[in-house]
Symmetry: C2
Subunit: 425 residues, 2 copies
């Protein structure tokens, strides 16, 4: 039986989960996959982590060199995260002829061209299923399941922290602050939640998924990004009244105008399959020219779901001869001849505070008309003696047109735009 | 660039879709997959099909021997369906050293052990993604995406015809007969709908999916099967009132008691992700020990979705060195040491007609109690002067206990059981 030695770098949540799965399932994989996966060494500074996993001392390496020079190591799992140490370690492993399996979205998003160049040169594997949407096999699906399709669009709820917060705000009437505090207590949000709530995490993943879907490197810098930290219960409730659920959506599209990639709060029709994706669950909804709509749903994070993705990659690497890399044009300047669309099309929800005087509403609607924005729904309700709240939803229009209308309204003396939220159409 | 010659056997819905995708995407696959896929011959008796696809005459083979002896053919697509011709053709192709891609669920379900034996002996590929759930990459997911998991259960809506009929009955108040007639008109149901409405089609697919999930051949004969042709609007409406949606569910489980596989109408809680899978859409919801719950959703049939799965298999076969077969123990007697559970556990919905006299209800509830069946909900409503309808939902219990209680009730003089529907718990 083929024997594969595995080294794990970093025994945090993901690395710890990977260790548990590998050790508990060793016999299972021998029987069902015909491969013997053995953890032969680990790299981890925190002694408490090693002890709580019950890892024998002789498996603990002193440094990366001990690992990459160990001939018993075939696969190196990188679950450290970040760039500082991880990047160098992964490059060392590849250059030592080890196959690398990583859960590091930031690393793969920013440096896939460097890493793949090394992997190809050394003819070793480079796998990254665990970098996106935890245990949901979305990378495998894009590479081997729907690769027969021209993908038109990807729409995903790909960050569990923000989805948990928005679900609590929507279903349980919590404020953003309370929901965030709870998410921190439950371990769904970090002490500094910026990466999640401002959409960086989702943008890294969208960059990777869009690169695969559209067959060209989509740089992180090209992802439009807007977080959830300024959302209010009022808008969530207004949207609900109109039949929408608010989600932090990652959207990638390829149209005749080019590639567009964006992460922002989005109202989704309550009948859309993505609308029911609640709590810490994630989902990716994609549309291909032959397959039509496909959705993958599951747990986007957590030690065992993400560990599941890592171990699936290890088994894949161990049971397939030859190495396949990403199917996107992956060089430093791969995006050179791609047109990125920033003036994207969308429908919009807007909330305005309007001075309650004759002609105010007509002034506003005229400003929309001037920008070629047509309105589907409009509700006005009294706010106080002098002001009213106006909520409206537009037909599909252009980002620039809305920006323009908003700045004109804000410059007027009759209204102020309180919030602008895109609507999935 | 690697050049792969493809032969297509049968140009019905699936074969025709495959031909269209391959010819329209040839340049796309050259660019994105680095492989040149060319249809080099087809086998089809009906001239009209060949003409409507615009296939050049010189590509039409006279018989299977012309195809399997053609050195330009690397991959043979079998989209004839059924057993009669298809089985012999597939065996001929494998024995001639051709990789086979099939959409034939009945063939793979019944003869996978024979076909795989030939494929292994000849060291060629045998792919069957298109046999289950159209374009949804569920086979790929089980083989390469969640193979790191012990799978506890699969629950699937895996037949589009019946889901279309049930959705029309549920959402639009149609009778079974009217919904079936409409499904026929729209091409969702065949002239003889038996294979779909009596659950054969779903049972073939469940046999294949369960074999992969539980790593042992699950024979078709072991699948418990009950169709939708006897369902009534009354039960659908009663279920809705209790918060359930009725689906034809395929359920595969592995527990300490053994493997259980069953296809039957099932009430699903309206908040369950499967409850929202409507019309001709399909979905598979699976639970693994590490990944937790994963759902794949998409179009379970149709020329392009199923063609998408076939072409994905062709690309996979063309871009991966070596051949991987099913990961289940696949011999004629593979099921010998598997225990199949027939007395499965489930919750139940029952509708009874009860004689409206003193003590009737108490007699019935006593019969349930005697069989260790405890009742969660019970509703009684008057039917006419002498009779009442009683609807009840049980806690999780055993199939045999319910059968026993039902026959006792039917034998009594106070009530008759009108319907028994399992409830997903």
């Amino acid at each position: 039986m083929k024997k594969i030695g595995v080294a794990i770098l970093g025994l945090g949540v993901v690395g710890g989960g990977t260790y548990k799965i590998l050790t508990e399932h060793r016999e299972f994989y021998r029987t069902t996959q015909g491969v013997d996966l053995e953890v032969v060494c680990v790299l981890e500074r925190e002694k408490s982590r090693i002890e709580s996993l019950g890892i024998p001392k002789e498996l603990v390496a002193k440094n990366i060199f001990e690992i990459v020079s160990n001939p018993d190591v075939n696969v190196v799992v990188e679950s450290i995260g970040g760039i500082t140490e991880a990047k160098g370690y992964v490059i060392d492993a590849l250059n030592a002829g080890k196959t690398v399996v990583t859960s590091n979205k930031e690393l793969f998003c920013k440096y896939s061209h460097e890493l793949e160049r090394d992997a190809r040169r050394m003819n070793v594997g480079l796998y990254f299923e665990a970098s996106c949407v935890g245990g949901v096999p979305i990378i495998r699906t894009l590479l081997d399941g729907v690769q027969s399709n021209k993908i038109y669009s990807i729409e995903g709820i790909i960050n569990g922290t923000t989805n948990y917060i928005l679900t609590r705000m929507t279903k349980d009437g919590m404020s953003y602050e309370d929901a965030l505090a709870e998410a921190k207590r439950l371990g769904y949000a970090e002490a500094d939640p910026t990466a999640d709530v401002e959409g960086f995490d989702a943008a890294y993943k969208l960059s990777i998924l869009s690169s695969l879907a559209f067959h060209t490197k989509v740089p992180f810098a090209n992802v439009f990004r807007e977080g959830i930290s300024k959302l209010t219960r009022e808008d969530i409730d207004n949207g609900r009244g109109l039949g929408y659920v608010l989600k932090l959506l990652a959207v990638g599209k390829e149209t005749e105008r080019g590639v567009e990639v964006r992460v922002h709060p989005t109202f989704v029709k309550s009948t859309h399959p993505l609308a029911g994706v609640d709590g810490s669950f994630n989902a990716v909804y994609l549309t291909g020219d032959s397959v039509g709509e496909v959705m993958l749903y599951g747990r986007g994070a957590g030690e065992l779901p993400t560990g599941s993705a890592i171990v699936s990659d290890i088994i894949y690497a161990s049971t397939h001869d030859g190495n396949r890399y990403s199917t996107f044009k992956n060089t430093e300047d791969a995006d050179k001849d791609v047109k990125f669309v920033t003036d994207f099309e969308s429908a919009y929800y807007l909330r305005l505070t309007v001075t309650d005087k004759v002609g105010a509403l007509s002034k506003i609607t005229a400003l929309f008309a001037k920008n070629n924005i047509s309105i589907v729904e409009l509700m006005q309700k009294s706010l106080d003696a002098e002001r009213a709240t106006v909520v409206l939803v537009t037909h599909s229009t252009h980002e620039e047109a809305v920006k323009n209308a908003v700045s004109r309204i804000d410059a007027s003396d009759v209204a102020r735009v309180e919030s602008v939220i895109r609507v999935l159409s």
